[in-house]
C-alpha cells in the first residue's frame, strides 16, 4: 500500500507526518520524493547506504559524420542545437532528451550520452527502508529521480510505503502521487495553508485518489483548515496539536515516536486510522 503525504504549502509537516508514520509502522518503507530539498534522511540517519547516480540522456554529435543539413536544428523545439562554421553545437542544459534529433539525422551523426543529474540512496533505519532522492543543484527537473525512486520500491503486500512529496502541485508532485493508493494531505491552520490546501485538494480529485486530511499545529482557536474540510466534506484523519516539544524534537531531526511515548501513541493512532481508510478505499475502488 503506497501512501503519499502532500500539502501544497511548504512547512506544514509532510516530513513530520511521513517520517513518524513510517517509524510507527512495522517494517515500512519511507521514500523522500522532495528531491530538491530532501530531509527525511536527516531524521532516519539510515545505515548501509547504497547509492546510485541518476542520469538523463543528452545528445552528442560526431562532426565527421555531420553533413550540415541542419534538419536537427530545425526540428529541436527547445533550441538546444546550433550550427556554426560547419560544426554542430549541442547545448546540454537545454536538451530535453526527447531523442527526436537523433531520428531526423540522415547521416546518423547524433547519438546519446549520459549526464548525471542526481542520485538515489537506499538504506535502513531500524525496520524502515529509507529511499532518498537528491537532485543536483542547478538541474531543472527531478522527475527522472522520482521515477527511479518509485520503481525501486517493491514492498511486500501488507507493508506500508510512505511517500514524502515535494510542496506544491506542479508536475513533480503529480509524478510522486501517480501510483499512490491513498493520499494524506497535511494542513496548517493559516490563511496561506488553506489556500494551498485547496490546490492539492483539486489535484487529488483530478487524479481520483482517495484522500484524507491531517490537521497539524492545531491551536484552540478557530482553524480555517478544519473549516475547509467541513465545508468540502473531507475526512479528517487526525489532529496534531501545536506542541513546543514536538516542534523542538522535529527541529533537531529527532523522530518523535522514538523519543516520547505520548507521540508514539499519537502517531500509532493516526496510523491505524490511515490504514483503515486505505483498506476501506481499496475495497471500494477495486471490487
Amino acid at each position: 500500500m503506497r501512501i503519499a503525504v502532500l500539502s501544497g504549502k511548504g512547512g506544514t509537516g509532510k516530513t513530520l507526518v511521513s517520517v513518524n508514520l513510517a517509524a510507527a509502522s512495522k517494517e515500512s518503507t519511507y521514500i523522500d520524493c522532495d528531491v530538491e530539498e530532501p530531509n527525511g534522511h536527516l531524521f532516519f540517519k539510515p545505515e548501509g547506504v547504497q547509492e546510485e547516480e541518476i542520469s538523463v540522456k543528452i545528445v552528442k554529435v560526431d562532426n565527421e559524420l555531420c553533413n550540415g543539413c541542419r534538419k536537427c536544428v530545425d526540428f529541436c523545439k527547445f533550441n538546444a542545437l546550433a550550427y556554426i562554421k560547419n560544426k554542430l553545437i549541442v547545448f546540454e542544459d537545454v536538451c530535453h532528451s526527447c531523442g527526436g534529433c537523433i531520428l531526423v539525422c540522415p547521416e546518423k551523426a547524433l547519438t546519446e550520452k549520459a549526464k548525471v543529474i542526481g542520485k538515489v540512496q537506499k538504506g535502513v533505519s531500524n525496520e524502515v527502508t529509507v529511499l532518498t532522492g537528491m537532485l543536483n543543484t542547478g538541474e531543472a527537473t527531478g522527475i527522472p529521480i522520482i521515477k527511479k525512486l518509485l520503481a525501486e520500491n517493491n514492498p511486500q503486500a501488507d507493508q506500508l510505503t510512505f511517500i514524502d512529496c515535494p510542496p506544491g502541485s506542479a508536475c513533480i508532485v503529480m509524478e510522486s502521487i501517480k501510483d499512490a493508493d491513498y493520499c494524506v494531505l497535511v494542513a496548517e491552520p493559516t490563511l496561506f495553508g488553506v489556500h494551498n490546501l485547496n490546490m492539492v485538494f483539486e489535484l487529488v480529485k483530478l487524479f481520483n485518489k482517495p484522500f484524507g486530511v491531517v490537521l497539524n499545529k492545531c491551536l484552540d482557536e478557530e482553524n480555517p483548515a478544519e473549516k475547509f474540510c467541513f465545508e468540502n466534506n473531507i475526512k479528517i484523519l487526525g489532529r496534531i496539536p501545536f506542541d513546543n516539544e514536538l516542534g523542538s524534537l522535529n527541529s533537531n531531526a529527532e523522530i518523535a515516536v522514538n523519543k516520547n511515548e505520548k507521540y508514539r501513541e499519537l502517531f500509532s493512532f493516526l496510523l491505524k486510522t490511515v490504514a483503515k481508510e486505505v483498506r476501506c478505499n481499496e475495497t471500494t475502488t477495486n471490487p
Binding site: F78, N79, K85, I89, F91, V94, A140
Partner: protein, 122 residues
C-alpha cells in the same frame, strides 16, 4: 562589414532592446553599402533556448559584429566560434550606436552573464 543590433522597432531611430535572446527584431546594417534590413526574431516566443536560436539567426545573416547591452553564456557559446565580435552598446538609438561603433568609441562586451538556461529572465 555587417553590424547586428537587437531593436525594439524596425527603424534606425529605434531604441536598442534590453534583451538579446527575446528582442522582437534584429537590425542588420551593412557598413559599406549603408543598407539596413530588419529581421523578425523567431526566438522571442521560444519556451527555452532563446539565446541560442537568436544567435543562430545572427550567424545565418552573416553579421560580423554584434552591439548589445548584455549576452547570456549560451548565446556567447554560439557567437564565439562564429568569430562574431561582441560590443557593449551605449546610450541612444540603434543609429547612435552604429555611429559610435564606426568612430571606435564602443568597448568590447566582456561580461557574459550566467544566462537564463531555458528560463529567461530579466
Amino acid at each position: 562589414m555587417k553590424i547586428a543590433i537587437p531593436v525594439d522597432e524596425k527603424t534606425l531611430e529605434s531604441s536598442v532592446c534590453v534583451s538579446f535572446g527575446r528582442t522582437p527584431y534584429f537590425l542588420i546594417y551593412d557598413v559599406e553599402t549603408k543598407e539596413s534590413i530588419f529581421i523578425e526574431n523567431s526566438a522571442a516566443t521560444s519556451t527555452g533556448g532563446a539565446g541560442i536560436k537568436a544567435a543562430q539567426i545572427i550567424v545565418d545573416n552573416k553579421a560580423n559584429v554584434l552591439l548589445t547591452p548584455r549576452l547570456g553564456e549560451n548565446a556567447a557559446d554560439v557567437l564565439k566560434p562564429a568569430e562574431i565580435k561582441i560590443y557593449k552598446k551605449t546610450t541612444g538609438s540603434a543609429k547612435d550606436n552604429i555611429d559610435a561603433f564606426i568612430a571606435s568609441e564602443l568597448l568590447l562586451l566582456d561580461e557574459i552573464h550566467a544566462g537564463f538556461h531555458g528560463h529567461e529572465g530579466n
